[in-house]
């Protein structure tokens, strides 16, 4: 992301946009994780409460997904974003 072409007020406005977007992204990460780990781990519908196995599964699912995201994020950072943009026809 290259903001050097933006003047002061434009950069301030983009900062506000980015902050708002980060909050939305975080909420989407959160609800997406709930859905993903629920679907992968909740298997037994003979009771209302999570079993011990299901609870452990959900915790591991969250840990693993966040570590996965972090590693993908590192690769994504290395790959120059400008490079990505270059190929938009």
């Amino acid at each position: 992301m290259d903001f050097s072409q933006l003047n002061g007020p434009e950069q301030a406005q983009m900062t506000a946009v980015i902050e708002k977007k980060q909050m939305q992204d975080f909420m989407k990460l959160y609800t997406g994780l709930v859905e993903r780990c629920f679907n992968a781990c909740a298997q037994d519908f003979t009771s209302k409460a999570l079993t011990t196995n299901e609870t452990t599964c959900v915790q591991n699912c969250v840990d693993k997904f966040l570590k996965h995201s972090e590693r993908v994020g590192a690769r994504f950072g290395e790959y120059n974003a400008v490079c990505l943009m270059y190929y938009i026809p």
């Binding site: 994780l33 709930v34 009771s47 209302k48 409460a49 609870t55 959900v58």
Partner: protein
């Protein structure tokens, strides 16, 4: 005289954009959670085998209804658990936005 007494910050009739933004974000999140709950419990309770499901009746079967109640309860537990776990892991917010923009 409102520019002397009260002022913008205290004006009980001024709209605070930050408060509106937070309320809208909360509303968006509630809707998002609800939609994911509907779709997850549909997969778990109504069509465990989507390929064979041909909808021979439009009513909820008794077993499906019971399943929906338990499924919803488990979903709320997972919702709570994921929130706690993300706090434990800390810096989770960065995981979703750590590629440096």
């Amino acid at each position: 005289m409102s520019f002397i007494f009260g002022g913008k910050q205290q004006n009980p009739n001024a709209v605070d954009p930050a408060k509106i933004e937070m309320a809208v974000a909360e509303l968006d999140m509630i809707t998002d959670v609800f939609n994911r709950l509907v779709s997850s419990c549909y997969s778990k309770c109504i069509q465990p085998n989507p390929m064979s499901h041909r909808y021979v009746e439009g009513d909820l079967l008794k077993g499906e209804g019971v399943c929906i109640d338990r499924c919803s309860a488990k979903f709320f537990e997972v919702n709570k658990l994921v929130g706690e776990r993300m706090q434990t892991m800390g810096g989770a917010a960065q995981a979703g936005g750590s590629f440096g923009h």
